[in-house]
Symmetry: C2
Subunit: 168 residues, 2 copies
DNA sequence: CAGTTTGTTCGGCTCACTCCGAACAAACAA
DNA sequence: TTGTTTGTTCGGAGTGAGCCGAACAAACTG
């Protein structure tokens, strides 16, 4: 078990995180920065992240801001009370990823549902095709809305359990 | 209830579909084309879609191909046996959207999980930090994997029911 | 047959996004 | 004070994706 092996393994996983980041609507740099922080023994400052990732200082600054807002990393002022800030990775990523997911999906579901409901109100009891189709949509989106809302209260393990136990 | 009102309501919903399409990793044009087909009384050909959407013929051709592959719309040869093809919207969108979702998420989860498992195998029982963190990741991704797999077997209503009934 | 319509493919344009580097502000050190 | 370090903001270069129009192939119509 050489040091090299460990480095290679870590690098592979971080590359996976870069890929995953794109799926969640984040940039590759966000994936790498999170990955470096995830494996780091101690909190890292922006200059240290510059060294570790090779990205420009400005990129680190911007990406850490969004990652902090999302909750995937945490920003901590240095112990000495100095200006230097340090970042750590949130290791319990489940809820953070859910938050990201919510920002991208639930927000969309909600606005769509609102639009549908407003359209539905404009076309009342008219049983023409438009109204009927919009009503179908409304049902689906209401289910979706409820699912996402319920999901956000569960941990990954609970969710898994809920689905497995429902298996009729 | 004027014709205008109906048109406006339909247009609003279609705009929502454009937005939604982006969330699912599709283009806005895909959302609009699906929306037009969704509300259309009869199947539409490519020239008709050009008229309805304002997109170029080539765009319609490309987008209909991907939407057909995904399963969100269906391609039908005309009754006369002619060359003209017609498209209809799949109205039971739940499973189609799940497929899209799978292509974007489950595929990513699987490759990530494979990478993690390989890294894990390379760093056996070494209880250093790297190995421990990779193991944490592995657990989360295995849960994720299982959740997505289970989810794909349920309808929206079933899923909703499963989550609601699990509420302890 | 020639002319028209339908559908696909290809090259190019545009726009948005990512990232970089420079400039700047703020806090510290000598 | 002046010089150094840290962090943010802004403008711009590079890149990829979406969309268009032209060219082409295939099938119909006269």
């Amino acid at each position: 078990m050489s040091e090299d092996d460990r480095t290679v393994a870590r690098e592979r996983v971080i590359e996976s995180m870069e890929q995953s980041a794109e799926v969640y609507g984040l940039s590759r740099s966000a994936g790498r920065i999170y990955g470096v922080l995830y494996f780091s023994e101690e909190p890292l400052s922006i200059p240290e992240l510059v060294d570790e990732t090779g990205y420009a200082k400005s990129t680190i600054s911007n990406v850490t801001r969004t990652l902090t807002r999302i909750g995937l990393i945490h920003r901590r002022s240095s112990e000495g009370g100095g200006r230097r800030v340090h970042y750590t990775a949130e290791r319990e990523i489940w809820f953070s990823l859910q938050d990201v997911f919510q920002q991208y999906v639930q927000r969309e579901i909600q606005t769509t549902l609102r639009t549908i409901q407003r359209a539905q109100a404009q076309l009342p009891d008219d049983n023409d095709t438009e109204a009927a189709r919009i009503k179908e949509l409304q049902q689906t989106y209401e289910d979706l809305q409820e699912i996402v809302t319920l999901t956000s209260n569960f941990t990954a393990a609970e969710l898994r359990d809920a689905l497995e136990s429902y298996d009729q």
